[in-house]
Symmetry: C2
Subunit: 341 residues, 2 copies
DNA sequence: GTGAAAGCGCTAACAT
DNA sequence: ATGTTAGCGCTTTCAC
């Protein structure tokens, strides 16, 4: 009988079971300091036999070192964020740091709460989506005394460091491409999300560039909730019947763009000659659609990788005061729906 | 100047700033015990002014209470898991418990590692996908002395508690439906994932039921990696040209099913008369496809909700020894691709 | 209603 | 190469 199965084992249990001091047991379990092979073996055997799982809480308190990196994102349902996470994990896997994810649902109050909660575990760094945060959140991040990387967006002033793309510029580039292709009557569809700042900035960059060319958005439609694919379909149907003279549709994300594409193809619309379409993100899903949708890669994985690298470097005491904003360049893929034959 | 900005604030700082003992400050910050309104106010002001963030590490060590629930899943890219997570979050949001997610990539060794890592933070419970774990993982879970809920699958013996659906039964039901609809030459497409036990069990239930009706899978194809939609398309093209006499295609997930559907429609195949198709999961995406794909709901959100409820109840010291396995019933939606006109 | 003392299970720093 | 001594920042427990 291994005594009370209710009480988790402690270093002391391993120490007694192996006849080695707690301190040496600790050293073996962390591969720290010199320990003779014989002692090491004894300790490892005992630990394994007992099924000892170290208590990181006590360890972290004693060493004031916590190998956690807080990653705060708006949503997991968006596919964009799991991909950023994949980039982060890939980098952290080779270190002793570990990502811990918090989700805000695009709500500033929830962001504040999640951030507070995570900071109270004293992580080694924070990676947080966006540049827009409540004043309280900004204060917490500044006070924390740990590296902070704001990701996805570079249109604004970072608290510390920032890695992403310029969404205004992304909107602008897409607008330029559409104008260059000769389209004139342009409709826009997107999320009804006042709190999705990146979608808003893309829209701004887009409309401003059109305006400079003397073009105004001819029609627009916003949605919220539900299946994005279905919404893309519905909105497109509605817009096409309402404004039959449109020659281009710009969607704020690939999912609704795909819905629109499927709908238009079913209706026998000639793409891209009669109507051109484009979206945003470059999600993998698009590879399987009947036509390659014009879109713009948001560099999701790359953003995750770069952000994680910055945290890692800072934790090694490296580079701090240089380049506080890393701007990546999204690639525009015209696919088969943007340039007229 | 708020002194050294490098050192995080402690209770003591708040104590000094407010002229109240550390103990009382602690009580105020946790709403524990009686504190006069005046004192409470003083403390809250000081804490806010300083920007104090409590140190949960110290708190957890002192109280041996950690409000974390470890959630261990194979992947975030699958969409299935974010939905389970949503169910879990929904329930935990009303409690003081918090989910912490770990990802295993379907690898038992990684599961073991992630589990060890998470248990070392002494969480209040574990929710883990699947019933298949390494012996070491099972031992850890048993030893942990905390509630453990294995989710998604009920075909096996849980360590503690288990919530999910029977994937064997799901495969069987789909087979029965297909047979009842009169299809005879059936092809199967799925992931090349020896470690996805649930997909395997569905396949087993499916083939066994066909076998009982004297039907054997006429053709099959497996894939790995890449865009599932594109893979569904490719595999379907290959299979149709290889086995032109097939009258039904069963896909192990909705994404490849959707790819197959799009391909067949483009080829002018009459669905479901010439060829019927069905998949698995009931993902929201399907709502936007040209045809409503036959599928089976995996009760993802519901599983998350139920699992979280069990953890919460156990943490309140409630119900423990009753029903250790909760089996939910997936609904089959025939959509427009299964029953012949 | 408030405070003082004693740890929680580890690790840093210093012996030996 | 190994052991000893002090805490880490909180909460528990018990006094007042």
């Amino acid at each position: 009988m291994t005594s009370d199965p209710k009480r988790p084992l402690t270093l002391r249990d391993v120490s007694e079971a192996s006849g080695v001091s707690e301190m040496t047991v600790s050293r073996v379990l962390r591969n720290k300091g010199d320990v003779s092979a014989a002692t090491r073996q004894k300790v490892q055997d005992a630990a394994k036999r007992l099924g000892y799982v170290p208590n990181k809480i006590a360890g972290a308190l004693a060493s004031s070192r916590v190998n956690l990196v807080a990653v705060i994102i708006p949503s997991l349902g968006n596919m964009v964020f799991p991909e950023v996470l994949a980039g982060i994990s890939e980098v952290l896997e080779d270190t002793d740091l570990q990502p811990v994810v918090g989700v805000t649902d695009y709500l500033p109050e929830k962001e504040e709460k999640v951030l507070f909660e995570m900071l109270s575990w004293r992580p080694s760094g924070v990676i947080i989506a966006g540049l827009e945060h409540s004043e309280a959140s900004r204060a917490m991040l500044r006070q924390a005394g740990i590296p902070v990387v704001e990701i996805m967006d570079t249109d604004g002033e970072p608290i510390d460091t920032c890695v992403g793309i310029s969404h205004r510029r992304a909107g602008r580039k897409m607008a330029e491409e559409i104008i260059a292709a000769g389209y004139q009557k342009i409709g826009f569809m997107g999320t009804k999300m006042p709190l999705d700042h990146r979608a808003r900035k893309r829209f701004e960059g887009f409309t401003r560039t059109l305006a400079k060319a003397g073009i105004e958005i001819a029609d627009q439609e916003f949605y919220s909730g539900g299946s994005a694919l279905a919404k893309g379909r519905e909105m497109t149907a509605k817009m096409i019947s309402r404004s039959p003279d449109l020659d281009f549709l710009y969607y704020s994300n690939d999912m609704i763009g795909a819905g629109g594409l499927l709908y238009l193809l079913e209706q026998g619309v000639a793409i891209p000659d009669q109507i051109g379409i484009a979206a945003f993100n470059g999600v993998e899903l698009l590879d399987g659609l009947p036509r390659q949708l014009a879109t713009m890669d948001a560099c999701r994985r790359e953003i995750g990788v770069k952000a994680a690298q910055i945290i890692v470097a800072r934790n090694l005491g490296l580079a701090s005061e240089d380049a506080t904003t890393v701007t990546l360049s999204p690639k525009l893929s015209p696919g088969e729906t943007l340039r007229r034959g």
